[in-house]
Amino acid sequence: MISYVLRRIVIAILTTMAAVTATFIMLRIAPGDPIAVLLGDMASDAEIADARQAYGLDLPIWQQLMVYLGRASTLDFGQSIAQGTSVRELVLSHFPHTLLLAASTMLVVIILALPIGIYTAVRKGQSASHATNAASLVALSLPEFWTGIVMILIFSRMLRWLPSGGAESGWSLIMPTITLALPLIAVNLRLMSTETINVLRAPYITMARARGLPRGSILRRHVIRNALIPVVTVGGIQLGHLLGGAVIVETVFNWPGVGQLLIRSIGIRDYPVVQGCLILMTFSVIVTNMLVDFAYRLIDPRFRRG
């Protein structure tokens, strides 16, 4: 197990480096110039050349990459071009908000999707399960920006119950959480329901019934655990994406997370900050995937090797 964990960590580091390289090159190839944005239209050629040199943007891309990777290995991701502050501190100051939003979203998803999914599977073919399926299809089809704006209109403008944006109080968390959670609840609910139905048909469930185990214990002890295996995989991927920052929802609700920082930095071509956000996103996905793999081995003994 320890050698497995170590191997996974080494792979995670290599994957992160590959992702850093890829995003670094893509950013440099993309059109737009941070110096032009920074200095504005009135700057002279000499001023522009000086600024380029100062930020190391005059070197060939591969040299810039080497310098960047060298510094990144000491957790120095450079300075923001626009604000002059350390990228690391800038990104990390936004991360707690993203973390909070991701955690509250996943919590709501787990609390709602799993029990309802199991319920609809057990009540397969009954009106309650048809209604849930229809509702989840609607939730799945709603785009986040639309749900978000409609909720702001209803709960902030008309009813004045909740703040329309920002992160001043706990109330600000509610609408972004619901907006993010709705489609995820729909996906996970359906997955949980399908998997539960599949497991209920498995021969070992028939055997458990033949041994006279009551329905409730069969569900608790055998069905849910087996049905959870694919849900954990999908949930892990979703959590990874949430931790990378929910770009649209953070923008709609002016939530000061990594997603919002990313969008702002792309707008002003603040390369180091964009790069920093992307590294954090990549890293979140890689780390959650690794944790999912560990969780897998806990749930399903067939994944534990010798």
């Binding site: 070992y204 033949a210 041994r211 006279g212 002890r221 003994p301």
Partner: protein
């Protein structure tokens, strides 16, 4: 042990292990059409005996077994009977769940494919311990002691350590032993074994059969053994039920069925068994294949029968005494004569 009890006394003093009168099973599909698969069958299995239910694939053997446990999906199958009792417990007509109280306690069940019959995420010891904890209200440690005893009983080597292994760490034969252990855990009066050796290696088959037979002796269980393997029948059965196209076409004691079958189908099954003493001899197969379910006029075996006559195509024969067995045939084979 229970062996001391005189064998002859059992059928008289005890309730039959299984008594079925007029059992019919019909499958419904989404379009609303229904397909009769098991048609009005009646039989009893005596306590302490092995009753073999034999027939080709699709003859309704496994459906019958599953119905006896009330495990058929009521959304798909319509199960009706005049009377059905298992281990003396009468089932409510049309309500499969009415058999739930006896499952595990009074009737044990073994399936054909042990591969998928155990929860892959739970230690086998815990899967067996559940039975004692739920049915007998035992503590985990007491249940575990019972589990080790059971695993030893079904001759799993190194039982204490194996109890902590997961199903994927067991071979097919060992898994089947675990399933048998689960089936006999609470000393049931009846054991229903649905092709228990079909998915196993030939060398393991004999061991599993011997194990089932020994357990039958030890617990004085009535066993309903579903099989298409006549070798298995010779080895362990006391009585035989021959099923064809959803009906019982012949029943009797194993010696009578095997030496003087009255139904041409039974006779055909017997001669189709490969005879290893005659090297090079090719066994005779019954020509044709079983009828598709649904068509129901005359004797279902008539199209494949070497001695069918015009009445066979129009009238359904009923089970009646014929020589040493009961056979549903208009022209039963007479005593001692074996046709091929």
């Amino acid at each position: 042990m229970t062996l001391a009890e005189p064998m002859v006394a059992r059928p008289i003093t005890r309730e039959p292990a299984i008594a079925v009168a007029g059992l019919s099973i019909t499958a419904r599909d989404d379009a609303g059409s229904s397909l009769p698969l098991v048609k009005d069958i009646s039989f009893t299995c005596n306590a302490g005996e092995v009753t073999a239910l034999i027939g080709e694939s699709g003859s309704g053997k496994s459906l019958t077994a599953t119905a006896l446990l009330g495990l058929l999906d009521p959304d798909v199958y319509d199960v009706r009977s005049h009377a059905l009792s298992v281990a003396g417990y009468p089932a409510a007509p049309h309500d499969p769940e009415s058999l739930a109280p006896i499952r595990g306690r009074k009737v044990g069940y073994i399936v054909q494919d042990p591969g998928a019959a155990l929860d892959p995420t739970m230690k086998v010891g815990d899967q067996l311990a559940e039975l004692f904890m739920i049915h007998r209200g035992m503590s985990h440690s007491d249940a575990r002691r019972e589990v080790i005893r059971l695993l030893n009983l079904v001759r799993i080597p190194n039982a204490t350590a194996r109890a902590d292994d997961y199903p994927h760490q067991f071979s097919g034969g060992m898994k089947q032993r675990v399933i048998i252990a689960g089936a006999v855990a609470l000393s049931p009066e009846v054991l229903i074994a649905d092709e228990p050796t079909t998915a196993l290696d030939v060398t393991v088959q004999a061991e599993i059969l011997t194990l089932i037979d020994d357990l039958r002796n030890e617990y004085a269980m009535g066993v309903l053994l579903i099989t298409h393997d006549l070798g298995v029948v010779y080895q362990v059965a006391d009585r035989v039920l021959v099923m064809y196209a959803g009906r019982i076409v012949e029943k009797g004691e194993v010696e009578a069925i095997c030496s003087t079958p009255a139904h041409p189908y039974t006779a055909g099954l017997l001669v189709s068994v490969p005879d290893l003493s005659r090297t090079g001899a090719v066994s005779a197969a019954i020509p044709g294949s079983p009828p598709r379910p649904g068509l129901d006029r005359g004797c279902p075996f008539a199209p494949r029968c070497f001695q069918a006559q015009s009445v066979c195509a129009t009238d359904l024969p009923v089970l009646q005494q014929s020589g040493h067995t009961m056979a549903a045939c208009h022209f039963p084979i007479s005593d001692g004569v074996r046709h091929g």
